[in-house]
């Protein structure tokens, strides 16, 4: 195992991890570390395996038929594919936000309370606290505090995406997995989410998949560049953007392809 020069603890270790849809490899021998309380950004062109990578971390890809994997993923030093891991519990520890915001056809309050309720929290007071705290953390509280019991589907796209972020945080997770959370949003909503992320990393470890390279540069601590299922390089964000090792990274960042 490689020695860690930084003082931060390592949260997630990925070693030689591969994933196949049928015979088609989507990830090829990925090895990387994610440190606690950092924003780890993953960039790369479409179909480079970014989303697959993210969905493997909380085992959302388990249910897809005809897939195969090899290698290791460890959370806090424990293999996540081990037999004694409770998948529902794992997913609570790694809250996920999808690329397309999905507000369930329920009230705002019930969207947020879904996760805690499924974990067995039924005290109204406690649920309300969680809802309020999550909405505040996602910078949505002021906009919705007077209509918590209205349908979440009436919110705008940007608000729905922040609702999804709040819903992930309502799980009180340790890690946030964000899959292009700003892909459908205008610059102002994007900015709001980025501000929220910088605040959130004090509390959470964040893995952010993004196809806006500028976003990785603005909020990322470290950045990994994926291409065709391979990890091309992974380094401090500053270094990736100013002095990448690999030519393909600089080609992508300067817009020669992608």
């Amino acid at each position: 195992m490689q020695t860690d020069r930084e003082s931060e603890r390592i949260k997630i270790i990925v070693r030689d991890f591969s994933f196949y849809y049928g015979a088609q490899p989507a990830l090829k021998g990925i090895s990387l570390d994610v440190r606690e309380n950092e924003i780890f950004t993953v960039i790369g062109p479409a179909r480079s395996g970014k989303t697959t990578f993210l969905r493997c971390l909380n085992r959302m890809n388990d249910s897809i038929a005809n897939t195969k994997r090899s290698g290791q993923v460890m959370l806090d030093g424990k293999e996540i594919f081990a037999g004694d891991i409770d998948v529902a519990d794992l997913r609570r520890r790694l809250g996920m936000v999808f690329a397309i915001p999905v507000a369930l056809p329920k009230s705002i309050y019930n969207n947020l309370a879904l996760g805690p309720r499924m974990r067995g929290i039924h005290s109204k007071k406690r649920l309300y606290e969680i809802v309020e705290r999550s909405l505040k953390a996602a910078y949505l509280w002021d906009e919705v505090k007077n209509r918590l019991h209205e349908s979440a589907r009436k919110l705008s796209g940007g608000q729905q995406q922040r609702l999804c972020l709040a819903r992930a945080m309502a799980l009180e997770p340790e890690v946030l997995l964000l899959d292009e959370p700003c892909s459908g949003l205008d610059p102002i909503s994007t900015r709001k989410i980025e501000e929220a992320l910088l605040e959130l990393k004090k509390q959470y470890t964040i893995i952010l998949v993004t196809n806006i390279t500028g976003q990785a540069a603005r909020v990322g601590d470290r950045t990994a560049f994926f291409l065709m299922g391979e990890l091309i390089e992974c380094d401090l964000t500053e270094r990736i953007f100013t002095n990448p090792h690999d030519e393909r990274t600089s080609d992508y960042l300067t817009g020669k392809f992608g």
Binding site: S63, A65, A88, L104, P105, K106, L114, M118, R167, L171
Partner: protein
């Protein structure tokens, strides 16, 4: 021959299609209207809440209303849990493969069995073999076999129509499969499921052939699951066939139609209220 101008085609298509729609609506209105107009004359409190006299030529139809209600409720109590359970299993708990195809083929075959054949089966199996005799229970069981495939199919369609992204959310927020089904999928699929059940209620209430064989034709109010009872539809058939008291027959038919309409309106109203509350 020269093709007509697109605008002319449009006009012809529109005329023909609206004509077809009009024919359908007119037929429906004619049937319902005929029965209601002929039947409504005899409907009054004595008719609805009285007991039949001289084989139903006079008096009321209360026992038949009650028998219809009992058989429908029994049929639904059996087929809703079974049907909804099977639908959930087929859509959420298995992946598509030859076993599901075989099950689905079986369900479609069951849906195609004529009700008189089901009645014969109910008679030999429930009435004779299991010795439930002619009873509400035998009738309810037979009717439930008849509506089961419709409940499975309509629930399945409704469940399948729930976007898979909703399921992803349930799983990603730490839900088990059962929690995903009960907290996310079913609430979204409910309108479709309820619609299927309403149609099934209509089929139950109107069922005649299989119920004659299994629930019997008793004129009395059934006092238990094992008593025989005559449904409104059976009563209608027997009145026309054996007594020729057509006024009374149309009275029962009108009661049947009106009650189905009331049930439908009430169910849709409930569902609309529910939908506006959740979305």
């Amino acid at each position: 021959m020269k093709r007509p101008h697109p605008k002319t085609q449009e006009l012809i298509a529109k005329t023909i299609l609206s004509l077809f729609a009009a024919i359908v609506v007119m037929t429906l209105l004619a049937i319902v209207g005929y029965v209601v107009v002929k039947g409504v004359r005899v409907i009054n409190a004595d008719f609805l809440f009285g007991s039949p006299k001289s084989m139903g030529r006079e008096g009321g139809i209360l026992p038949f209303i009650i028998s219809t209600l009992y058989i429908t409720v029994t049929g639904l109590l059996i087929s809703i849990p079974l049907g909804l359970g099977s639908a959930i299993y087929l859509t959420e708990y298995t992946s598509e493969g030859w076993p599901t195809k075989v099950i689905r083929f079986g369900i479609d075959c069951l849906a195609g069995v004529p009700s008189i054949v089901l009645g014969l089966f109910g008679f030999t199996f429930f009435v004779r073999l299991l010795n439930f005799s002619w009873s509400i229970l035998s009738g309810g069981l037979t009717v439930s076999l008849m509506i089961l495939p419709f409940i499975i199919r309509s629930s399945e369609e409704a469940i399948r129509a729930v976007p898979s992204s909703y399921r992803d959310v349930a799983f990603a927020t730490g839900g088990t499969r059962w929690q995903c089904v009960t907290r996310v999928v079913l609430p979204c699929a409910l309108p479709g499921i309820v619609t299927g059940i309403i149609l099934a209620i209509g089929k139950c209430v109107g069922e005649t052939a299989s119920v004659i064989f299994t629930a019997g034709t008793s004129l009395r109010i059934p006092m238990s699951m094992f008593d025989s009872g005559r449904t409104l539809a059976v009563h209608f058939y027997l009145l026309v066939r054996e007594t020729g008291a057509s006024d009374m027959a149309y009275g029962s038919a009108a009661t049947l139609l009106i009650s189905i309409l009331v049930v439908n309106f009430f169910a849709y109203w409930l569902m609309r209220k529910f939908i506006s509350r959740v979305s």
